[in-house]
């Protein structure tokens, strides 16, 4: 899935349709959306007439036929290049989306028959395209799930590699936060009954494809503002060119129509104008390559602006769950006895913590005889779990105060050294689990969170971007604080309830910040909707996916960090190419303006600092440079300008030097080179 290698950027199967699209997009109705390129089109049409006229009539003020034809062709190429940029970006996005869509081609679906409003037990096979929202279908081991839906009955292991690229099967079951299944994935075991959640053609992927194809692509706020700015630059150049006519009359100079139009097209910001929509599409495409489906282009852009990132501790900051790391027996208790008791108490404990205790103990579990034993499940009231052996042995493990109560009630002391151990574990960010046998304290197990390797660096990077990270955890404040410090997050919400997330988001938003979060559960949905960027995991519930504005197919909690960078890259690419485009004009002025007036004001030769051959070659070189810079910048537009978290001012300095100063210098060199090549032909 992640095939973003460079060679595929201009793959043949992408280029050919894109070339065709470049011509289709010449339709004025399509061009009108882009004011800058639309004016180029008007200029091209005028040149077409001028060329035709100069073929018939030999008018000195119009210029000769071949020159006019050359200008016309270059202008047409400028338009085609710009269209090609948009088309290739669309094609890439579409190809990416198609490869996802392929996974959900027509598959037979075992639809549950319905009589009136009542579902029967009867099942018949229909093509997946006939499934509608609300229908039920059944999937058994080996079936491909035909449609996105929500499990209403059963549990199954599912291979989602077709979507996520992750080969390990996942478990999905009815109820709770893991009830969602995606069309195109494969059921490996068991049987589930699923309710279809989207009508055909309305899944997130379908929406995303429509977005990429331009049908429902809307300009983002920043894109609108930029278009306004570019339009105003265009108007300035309309003024420059129109007023040049009476100026030239005053100076007794004749300027041909071709020269006027060339000057105009060179000056208006065609580079950014031509690449603007390609950059926007490429942003969504990059998100898609990261396996994130965005519901609008705006969401990607907003991601770049995010100030606060809410991250769940488990899975994002720490690996999975807490793990047992140490056994501390109380004084006078043999360590082996203690460990054995710990294992016994955890045998029936299905929680990851329980399993990790057995793992750490490293004893042969099968050697334990538990026939007739009664397992005590964990409840919120007792806050402990354990086992009652037939021998009358009662082992409990649980929170410090829960076990202390048991011990004290029975008249036993709580060993001092264990109490100290408990405190020291807590203050080190660990969770103490005290174990008692027949109301007597045996010792304490230390559970520790394992912080993901490399996560500190990622947070440091985020901090440099100006993004505040907030860890959300159910842990007590002491533990939360320890992990927060160790992982390097800026803030944390401890003992978090779902509404705490919501309140935190609201609080941040009131102070003017943009908040991003990731979530999967139904009770995350309000917070996902409230957040400026809400990324729902694909494994999450339908409610969560509806509420967010992005869906992550990988279910990867660290994806948010990537999304923020994609958003920033999108803005930066737009900004730098705008700067480059406008900076180019300096050189073009130096090429064209002396060329226009040199015949009547020979002194202006002093402005011809590039020493271009002749007025005609100067104008042609400028227009050619203006045209070919567009395809030259297509790779940059599609890949995006690299984002470096070095602080805003440093980044501005860097980009201003590369694209601003570079934008001033590059065309001087480019135009001179083209002029030298032209000299060989003219």
């Amino acid at each position: 899935m992640k095939n973003s290698n460079k060679s595929s950027m201009f793959a043949k199967e992408l280029v050919l349709p894109a070339l065709k699209q470049s011509f289709v997009k010449l339709s004025p109705r399509a061009m009108f959306r882009n004011p800058v390129m639309f004016t180029v089109e008007i200029g091209t049409v005028i040149m077409l007439f001028v060329t035709a006229y100069s073929f018939k009539v030999n008018d000195k003020t119009i210029g000769n036929f071949s020159y006019n034809l050359a200008v016309f062709i270059i202008l047409l190429l400028t338009l085609l290049f710009a269209n090609f940029a948009e088309a290739i970006a669309e094609a890439r996005g579409k190809a990416q989306a198609d490869s996802l869509r392929k996974t959900r081609e027509e598959t037979p679906a075992k639809k549950v028959s319905i009589v009136g409003e009542i579902f029967t037990d009867e099942i018949h096979i229909v093509p997946s395209s006939q499934l509608k929202k609300g229908d039920l279908f059944v999937c058994e081991a080996g079936d491909i799930i035909p449609m996105d839906g929500e499990i209403i009955k059963g549990l199954a292991t599912i291979d989602e590699s077709a979507i996520t690229g992750e080969s390990a099967p996942v478990i999905r079951e009815a109820g709770g936060d893991k009830s969602s299944v995606t069309g195109g994935t494969k059921v490996l075991s068991d049987k589930i009954k699923v309710r279809v959640t989207t009508d055909p053609g309305e899944s997130f992927l379908d929406k995303m494809i429509a977005l990429v194809e331009g049908a429902s692509r809307q300009k983002t706020p920043n894109e609108i503002a930029l278009t306004i700015l570019l339009a105003s630059f265009t108007i300035i150049f309309v003024i420059v060119c129109v007023t040049l006519k009476p100026f030239a009359d005053y100076a007794n100079t004749t300027i041909s129509i071709a020269a006027f139009i060339s000057l105009f097209v060179c000056l208006i910001p065609t580079t950014i104008g031509g690449l603007l929509s390609a950059i926007g599409i490429a942003g969504m495409d990059r998100a898609l390559r990261a396996n994130v489906i965005t519901k609008s282009g705006k969401a990607v852009e907003t991601a770049g602006d995010v100030d606060t990132l809410l991250l769940d501790k488990t899975g994002t900051i720490t690996i999975g769950n807490r793990k047992a790391t140490n056994f501390y027996p109380a004084n006078g208790i043999d360590k082996k006895v203690f460990i054995k008791a710990c294992v016994l108490a955890s045998l029936a404990d299905e929680t990851p913590e329980g399993k990790s205790i057995i793992e750490l103990a490293n004893l042969n579990v099968n050697s334990f005889n538990t026939t007739g034993a009664r397992f005590i499940e964990f409840t919120a009231e007792t806050r402990s779990s354990g086992i009652d052996m037939p021998s009358g042995l009662k082992i409990r493990k649980g929170a410090f105060d829960a076990i202390r109560n048991i011990a004290i009630k029975a008249g036993n002391n709580f060993p001092k050294e264990t109490e100290e151990q408990v405190r020291s574990i807590s203050s080190n960010g660990g969770t103490p689990l005290v174990v008692s046998q027949n109301q007597e304290v045996l010792g304490v197990i230390e559970l520790q969170d394992i912080i993901k390797p490399g996560i500190q660096e990622r947070f440091a990077r985020l901090r440099k971007m100006g993004v505040k990270t907030v860890m959300v955890t159910g842990d007590n404040p002491l533990t939360a604080k320890y992990i927060a410090e160790k992982a390097g997050v800026d803030d944390f919400i401890a003992e978090a309830k779902p509404e705490d997330k919501m309140n935190y988001i609201k609080k941040e938003q009131v102070s003017g910040k943009l908040v991003a979060m990731m979530g999967d559960g139904t009770n995350d949905a309000p917070a996902l909707a409230q957040a400026d960027v809400g990324v729902a995991m694909n494994s999450g519930t339908q409610a969560a996916k509806e509420a967010g504005n992005m869906v992550d197919l990988d279910n990867d909690p660290t994806k948010l960090i990537e999304i923020v960078e994609i958003g920033k890259q999108l803005l930066i690419t737009r900004g730098t190419i705008t700067t480059f485009s406008i900076a180019n004009d300096v050189a073009k002025y130096f090429a064209i303006v002396p060329a226009l007036f040199i015949s009547s004001i020979p002194a202006l030769q002093a402005l011809n600092i590039m020493h271009l051959q002749s007025p005609q070659s100067a104008i042609l070189s400028a227009v050619i440079f203006n045209a070919i810079i567009i395809p030259l910048l297509i790779p940059l537009s599609l890949k995006g300008v690299a984002y470096k978290p070095i602080g805003a001012s440093a980044l501005l300095r860097r980009n201003l030097l590369i694209y601003g100063l570079g934008g001033v210098i590059a065309p001087f060199i480019g135009i001179k080179l083209i002029d030298m090549i032209l000299a060989l032909f003219i």
């Binding site: 300035i236 420059v240 100030d307 920033k568 900004g575 004009d585 007036f597 030769q605 602080g647 001012s649």
Partner: protein
């Protein structure tokens, strides 16, 4: 170092040294802190009561603009009719005639908008009554309008989120009573004691050494000269402006006038830093503006001090530099300095004839007016700079990957639309105006107007083009200086520049007020490490780049055909 250069440097240093305490004082005045002039409180309260003003009433940006525009319209009507009937009114000892309607239109507007284009000559075109109670009055209120609007804008930037810009009337009154009047009184006294006339008597007759009798115009000029500079107005009492010996008698008064015209624009920058609690932001702006001034100033002074290459070509030595159109008592260095100061800020008073400046100097003068934001006029200079900042904020925001923000508010499409419109405007007005004039010159030179287009220009070819370009640039910048070779007192120039004047004054004022009004209403976004700081030198350089590129792109072809062609043709 030679004395002429020392004089210029000392003048500039004194200006800055005086502007710093003045800036602190201005910030105090508008913050409502205690100042030395608090004894004026009852007087101000009297004015408010007389005019029925509630100085506590807060105005949102629309009401603020409405108040400003209404009172300006009123002043325009008053000035227009006074000038139209000045011959029938008292205080006209020299018996000067009334102004024609088109001239009255032009004069009223140009003083209303702080431009003072003056298509008439002070000695013959106006009376003591209109000079004092119309023109001088407008010089006060137009400067105060600019400052008041700036303070309103700063009120919007000062708070995190606010829906009002303060009370226009009270800011306006305080500007006059606390800033302009006191400073003017000090300066008028200096001028009067240096020899500027201060009486209502008519022309005096003197006999020169050669035995000729000469009529010398007089009048209450000293006060006029004070506000003309302190208010960055520039309209002279006499036709020759500050080149006239009675309007600028000595090198000392020359220094005083130079300091006076720059002091409020510079002080406003420092005042802004204190007032909105962003001193570094203000200091960077001051730095960038000063660099900008130097870039225009140094070539000008070099060109003027080196003298005219055409004369050098004839083998004539010019030890005193280019002296055509200059006063001997000021010399080329100080005249060059003045010519740049008066064009970068929108004064437009002159102590030498810009028409006679070297081509390079002429270009720098025009560039100063095109940019119009290196210090700039009273209040409006910073407003113009603000527009450049908004464009810079937008582009650089994108370049660092964040939705652009300015002073904690997101800059979005609406603000960009306004900034773009204002940016467009000067290119449109200047080039449109020149195109129209060039069209008539080229195609209808003999059209049957009172003054034929063929006799507009004092010089042929490039320099003639520069004369037209300069006139519209000056009008657009509300500057008021001219390449005085141009025959501009006729319907075409009076009306066309009059229209340019109104648009170029009020749209660039409405723009920033609207932008800040909209911004101030938005939610405040606190700064983070990802926020682009607008008080950094990097951002200052970015703003400078925006200023350079916008003006270069707008005006390069016009400058090529005027001063640049002239420069290379010698």
């Amino acid at each position: 170092m030679n004395t002429e250069l020392t004089g210029v440097i000392v003048t500039f240093l004194i200006t800055v040294l005086l502007a710093i305490p003045l800036g602190k004082y201005i910030a105090k005045v508008f913050s409502g802190n205690k100042t030395m002039l608090d004894f004026l409180n009852p007087f101000e309260r009297f004015i408010y009561r007389m005019c029925g003003i509630d100085p506590q009433k807060k105005m949102d940006w629309k009401d603020f603009l409405k108040a400003m525009l209404t009172i300006n319209l009123l002043w325009f009507v008053y000035a227009f009719f006074m000038l139209l009937f000045q011959d029938k009114l008292p205080l006209n000892p020299d018996g000067n005639p009334a102004q024609t309607p088109d001239l009255a239109f032009n004069t009223a507007i140009s003083f209303l908008v702080n431009c003072n284009l003056q298509h008439y000559s002070g000695e013959t075109g106006v009376t003591y009554l209109t000079q004092t109670f119309v023109l001088m009055f407008l010089q006060f209120v137009s400067a105060a309008t600019g400052i008041a609007v700036l303070v309103g804008v700063l009120n919007g930037l000062k708070e995190k989120t606010v829906n009002n810009l303060g009370n226009f009337w009270s800011i306006f009154v305080k500007t006059i009573t606390r800033i302009l009047l006191p400073l003017c009184i000090v300066m008028a006294v200096i001028m009067a004691f240096s020899g500027s006339p201060t009486s209502y008597d008519g022309k005096d007759t003197i006999t020169t050494l050669q035995g000729d009798t000469v009529n010398v115009s007089r009048g209450p000029a000293a006060g006029f000269i004070a506000i003309k500079h302190l208010g960055t107005n520039g309209g002279g009492w006499f036709g020759a402006n500050s080149a006239h010996p009675l309007e600028n008698p000595t090198y000392l008064t020359n220094m005083v006038e130079l300091i006076a015209q720059m002091i409020i624009p510079i002080a406003m920058i420092f005042a802004m830093g204190i007032y909105i609690r962003k001193r570094k932001f203000a200091n960077v702006i001051f730095g960038i503006m000063t660099v900008g001034m130097l870039i225009l100033l140094v070539p000008t002074m070099v060109a003027e001090i080196h003298g005219n290459p055409a004369i050098a070509h004839l083998g004539v030595a010019q030890p005193t530099g280019a002296m055509e159109g200059k006063e001997v008592r000021f010399g080329p260095a100080s005249s060059g300095y003045w010519s740049i100061v008066t064009t970068i800020i929108s004064t437009g008073s002159v102590n030498s004839m810009h028409d006679s400046s070297m081509p390079l100097s002429g270009m720098m003068q025009m560039l100063g007016m095109m940019i119009n934001a290196f210090y700039g006029g009273c209040g409006v200079g910073i407003l113009n700079y603000l527009i450049y900042i908004i464009v810079a904020v937008f582009i650089s925001g994108l370049m660092v990957g964040r939705t652009p923000e300015f002073m904690g508010h997101k800059v979005e499409a609406r603000e960009i639309k306004i900034a773009a419109l204002v940016t467009l405007l000067s290119a449109f007005l200047v080039k449109g105006g020149v195109a129209l004039a060039a069209y008539f010159s080229a195609h209808h030179p003999e059209i049957a107007w009172a003054v034929k287009p063929s006799s507009w220009l004092n010089n042929p070819s490039y320099h003639g083009f520069s004369e037209m370009l300069y006139e519209f640039t000056s009008s657009n910048a509300n500057n008021g200086s001219g390449f005085e070779g141009l025959g501009d007192n006729n319907t075409f120039w009076n009306v066309s520049t009059g229209i340019v004047l109104i648009l170029a004054r009020f749209i660039p004022i409405i723009g920033p007020v609207a932008i800040v009004g909209l911004l101030a209403n938005k939610k405040y976004v606190p700064e983070s490490a990802g926020t682009l700081r607008t008080d950094s030198i990097t951002f200052g350089a970015m703003t400078f780049a925006v200023i350079f590129i916008i003006n270069a792109l707008s005006f390069f072809p016009a400058l090529v055909l005027g001063p640049i062609a002239e420069l290379f043709s010698r």
